[in-house]
Symmetry: C2
Subunit: 314 residues, 2 copies
C-alpha cells in the first residue's frame, strides 16, 4: 500500500509514528511543509522537516516535541552575548549541526529535496520525506502593533509573540511561483490514500496545498483527514489564531468544511465532537473516535482508523 501524508511539525510527526506502527508494510511518502522555514544567522532552518525527521528517527525531544533530545543551548547563549538578533528562536547545539550541514549543501547547489534525503541517511525515518517544494516559500503574518501594520515572519509571530497579536492575514510568500519538489506529484498520483494528519490546517497543510498542482493532485485521490480541533480548541499549538486569520471557526466541522468535499473524502473527529459525525457534513464521511495521541499506540489507533475509512471510501 502506498500512502502520502501532508505533514506539518509535531502533530504530523506523531501521527506518522503511529502510521508506521499501524501499517508497517506501507510505502509512506511524507510531503513536508517548508513555509515555516527561516534563515537564522545565515543558516537554513526547516522546523517541520526536522521535527518529522527527528521524531521518526528517534532523535526528538519527546517532552518539547521539537528539537533534539539531550539538547544544550551554548551557541545560542554565545550569540546572545554578541547581541545579534534574533534571540527568541530555540536553536539548540545538536540541532544546529543539522542546519550547518543543510546550509552547506544548499550553498553547494543541492536542492532542498536532495539535502533532506542526505540528512535522512543518518536518521532513517522509515518514510520518504520530501519537502513540498525546493523553492523558497516563507509564510509571513500581517499584524498591527505599536510599530504599525506590518508583516513579520511566521516564526516571529509564532515563537516570539506566541500568536498573541491577532494575525490579520497569513501569506505564504513565494508559494504561487513554487514548483512541487521532484517526486511530490508522482507520489500523490501513485498513492492509494492521502492522509491529512492533525497538523495546522492553515500554515502547515494549507501551505502545502497552496503549492501549484498539489491541491488538484490530492483532490483526485481518496483523502482522509484527522481533525486538529477537539471540542472547539486546538489539541496543541495555536491553530485557532491561524484559523481566525482566514475567517474559519475553530471547530472540527469548520475545518472540514474549509478543506471542502472536493478535497476531503473522510474526516475523523474526536468523541467530543460526535455531534458532527451524527449530523454529517455534505460530501464528507465523518467518523468520531478518540483523537488524543497520548502515546504511539494511541497514534497508531488513529492512523488505523484513518486507513480503514480510506479503504471504505476508495
Amino acid at each position: 500500500m502506498r500512502i502520502v501524508v501532508l505533514a506539518g511539525g509535531i502533530g504530523g510527526a506523531r501521527f506518522l509514528r503511529g502510521l508506521k506502527r499501524a501499517a508497517p508494510e506501507a510505502e509512506i511518502t511524507v510531503v513536508g511543509n517548508t513555509g515555516d522555514d527561516i534563515f537564522l544567522f545565515g543558516l537554513k532552518v526547516c522546523p517541520d522537516l526536522d521535527t518529522v525527521m527527528y521524531t521518526l528517527g528517534g532523535g526528538i525531544d519527546e517532552e518539547r516535541g521539537w528539537g533534539r533530545a539531550d539538547e544544550t543551548f551554548r551557541v545560542k547563549e554565545e550569540l546572545a552575548a554578541y547581541e545579534v538578533e534574533p534571540t527568541w528562536f530555540g536553536l539548540g547545539d545538536r540541532d544546529l549541526a543539522t542546519h550547518i550541514v543543510r546550509t552547506q549543501m544548499l550553498n553547494a547547489g543541492y536542492p532542498l529535496s536532495a539535502v533532506t534525503e542526505a540528512l535522512c541517511h543518518r536518521w532513517r525515518p522509515g518514510v520518504r520525506l520530501i519537502p513540498m517544494t525546493d523553492d523558497r516559500v516563507e509564510t509571513h503574518v500581517v499584524i498591527t502593533d505599536e510599530r504599525g501594520r506590518r508583516a513579520i515572519h511566521f516564526q516571529e509571530w509564532w515563537v516570539r509573540l506566541r500568536a498573541s497579536v491577532p494575525a490579520e492575514a497569513i501569506v505564504p510568500i513565494g508559494v504561487e511561483e513554487a514548483k512541487p519538489a521532484p517526486g511530490v506529484l508522482e507520489a500523490i498520483a501513485e498513492a492509494d490514500a492521502v492522509l491529512l494528519p492533525p497538523s495546522n490546517p492553515v500554515v502547515s497543510v494549507g501551505t502545502i496545498l497552496a503549492v501549484p498542482g498539489v491541491r488538484e493532485a490530492v483532490a483526485a485521490k481518496t483523502v482522509v483527514g484527522v481533525s486538529p480541533i477537539i471540542g472547539g480548541a486546538p489539541v496543541r499549538g495555536m491553530a485557532d489564531a491561524c484559523l481566525a486569520a482566514i475567517g474559519v471557526e475553530t471547530s472540527a466541522r469548520a475545518v472540514a468544511e474549509h478543506y471542502g468535499p472536493e478535497l476531503l473524502d473522510g474526516w475523523l473527529v474526536d468523541e467530543a465532537d460526535a455531534a458532527v459525525a451524527d449530523e454529517g457534513i455534505a460530501g464528507i464521511a465523518v467518523r468520531s473516535r478518540p483523537l488524543l495521541m497520548t502515546d504511539v499506540g494511541a497514534a497508531a489507533d488513529i492512523a488505523r482508523a484513518a486507513l480503514e475509512l480510506a479503504g471504505e471510501l476508495r
Copy 2:
C-alpha cells in the same frame, strides 16, 4: 607611545597580554595573521585573530591556549554523526558562535577588518586588532604522502597531521595580490616601535610580512623581535617543521638572520642562547634574558625588555 605588534596565535597573544601590563598607557595595534584562516562547514574561522581576541578579552582556554574556556564540542560531535568532513578540527560550541557571527557579517558584505572590530566590541581586548588583510590569503603546505605530492591547507597539516609529514614548501596563496587592511600601514608608519612576538616566523610573522607593503613599512621603523626558539627548539608549537621547509635552521640566531638586519634592529634571545648575544649578529642588537612566558608577569618582563631595547635603538 604607539606600538605595533605582528601577531600569530598563542605566542603572540600571551606576549600581548604581557605587553599590556608592561605598557598600560601605550596605544597598541595588533596586525593579526590571517593566513591560517579556514572555511569549515561554510563558516569562516580565523584561529589567530580569535586567539588574540579571546586571550586579551578573558575568554581563552588557558590550558589549551586556543579556543574558549569552559568549552564543549556538541556541534562537532553531531557533525561527525552526519559523517561530514573534516572531523579533525577542534570546533567548540562557544567558539562556533564567533564564526557564525563573523560569517554572517562577511556574507552581508563587511570586510574582515570591520567584522573583527565588531567582534572586539564584545571582547574589549584593550588593543586595536586588525587582520593583516581583508583579502583571502590561505597558507597551503606541499607534502608528499601515499596519495602523492600535493598541497593541503595549513590547518590540515598542522592540526590533522601534527606537522609529522615534512613540508616541502609553505605557500601563502593569494598573498601577492593581497592589500594591507585599512589602518595597517598607517599604524606601522605612526609607531614608535614594531615588536615581533615569539610567534611562528614562517606561517605567522612571515605571512604578515609577505603582504605587499608591510615589510617595507616595518623595516623603516625600530623593530625588536623575541626569539620563538630557545636552545634549538620551539618554545611551543612546531615552528621547527616550518623553518625546515624554508631552509632555516631551528636556532635563535638563524631566525634573526632570516628576518635580517634590514628588518630587525633588536633581538631578544633566551639565556640558554646567551652565546648568540655574546657573539653578536651583524646589524642586530642581541640581548639575552629569560624568555619563557610562564605567566603574565613573565610575559610582561619580556615585553618590557623588548620596549627598553627598542628605546635604546630608536
